[in-house]
Symmetry: C2
Subunit: 326 residues, 2 copies
Amino acid sequence: MSSVKDCTCDKLNSFKSPWCDADCFVVITGASRGFGRAFAVELVKSMSSGEDHAASLNVLLMARDVNALRVTESEMYASLSTNSKMKLTILVSTSSLDMSNANKDNLLNDLKPLFQLNSLYPIQSNIKCQWNMLVHNAATLGNIKSKSYECYNIDILDTYYHTNLTAPILLTNLFIEYFITNHQPITIVNISSLTAIQPFPYMSDYCIGKSAREMYFKCLSIDNPSLAILNYSPGPLNTNMLTEIIENHGHLDTRIQFNNMKLNHQIIESNESARVCIGWLKKQIPIDPSNINSIPKLIHCLIHDKEYTNLWLGIHLDYFDAVEKV
Amino acid sequence: MSSVKDCTCDKLNSFKSPWCDADCFVVITGASRGFGRAFAVELVKSMSSGEDHAASLNVLLMARDVNALRVTESEMYASLSTNSKMKLTILVSTSSLDMSNANKDNLLNDLKPLFQLNSLYPIQSNIKCQWNMLVHNAATLGNIKSKSYECYNIDILDTYYHTNLTAPILLTNLFIEYFITNHQPITIVNISSLTAIQPFPYMSDYCIGKSAREMYFKCLSIDNPSLAILNYSPGPLNTNMLTEIIENHGHLDTRIQFNNMKLNHQIIESNESARVCIGWLKKQIPIDPSNINSIPKLIHCLIHDKEYTNLWLGIHLDYFDAVEKV
């Protein structure tokens, strides 16, 4: 049995962040509001502060609402401390991309400005040089007004899975295809949900989509262990999605349950959950670019985090577990 | 702590099958070969034998290969003992339905002959009268030659999930819509797989499809607890799919692993796995048609099956667990 003297929590503070001194290329989908916007803002705070700040952060924000993306952009610049040494570049997807129409051509078109920016940066194989990340936050709730067996329109179902499953898969594959060539570290964060592992009434679209997406990222990790993959469930958030559930969910008990959670302050603010998620990302030893067989590892305390050793294999990490240990 | 004297295994034998004396209407997809065919044949054996046999079994077999369905039909008739009192009617889907083209119209067209047959049978609300079942066996492997992140064609992905996810959802919904009106028992069996809960290399399509389908059936159970829903993982079977994996899987270790399983006789015959699955279905107390709020229950031994109490809520049941206790 392990004893308290095996605790290595203190030692963890001596590790530097995976983005320390690196040029970072990041894509965030659904960045126009809610958790996506919060993540973008908290990322700037984390990556630009401290001794282990990034050399540069180059972010592509994607969403349908370009005006709202511009607000996210402003908040990101405002979060950067004036004396930060990190160079921040923000690109905004101007194609008003609707994931329900996503295909290889228009996704590549959206990614192209980030790829072009990346091509201007030098790659060296033997020192920490880049740290690249794709954050899948975009998702739609689907039908929450009727029961799972009350849909007879297969086109509606197909469009839902195109938007929430196959478009994110394709975006991931294009991101990996581009960035994998130089064996630089790639981290992929899938914003998941409790619904990925537990069925909820009148929410089969959302449950199936989240469950399927988690399995994709688990398979991806098996197929390429050099990727660091996190399935993060951010907890019940104070976002438009919550309002939609409280106002429009077809199941009265669920409306009451979520409304009570809101009244009882059991709802988490997006910035708080994003901060916790990024705190875990910081506990990463990225792959060594000079060794093409290297695998990212979690910096973890042998006592307090031992069940998270394999976190980057796409294990489901829930906010309520994550917050205890960040 | 429970003691051996609490074991109720012996008592279970006194229960009758859920189809005892009932007119049964059953749809089996992918019935032209492998597990689907085996299930159809074993079902005839189980439902037509013993004191608790069904009054009638009316089966609609669905698959693309109509000639192969005719072989299944012959084997089913051959499995019926000559002195059986059960009336057997077999319908064969003649539309050569390809699930990749499935929509409401052509699925309804396939189901229509069974619905017409059903409409000829009397419905009484206060006695056991019907027992209806939909068995989802049809599935495709998808891409097994390359890694999950090497697909850049979203149409191929979309077609896969149409075939393996949304078409089965729609078929389920149409089946329920028709049979639920008279509050007769409905059982739905989803043929699942270990891949639904565990990622495998080069098999992301199959893993995602199976995982997503299981979640649909779990949601369905939450949305309508009067349905008996089983997610059954039949084990590694001696079918064409196994041959396809041994010959064409992109990952050498997986080809070797499955080939060794075959050489070491660790592969299960479809008829054996189907027999085990049907054995569990037999342990069902169906809903009481006179009580619209009734919920199907598993007949289980308080000692030996206690973890399966909620089996009909779509819990994943694996052959290797199931065979121990049937």
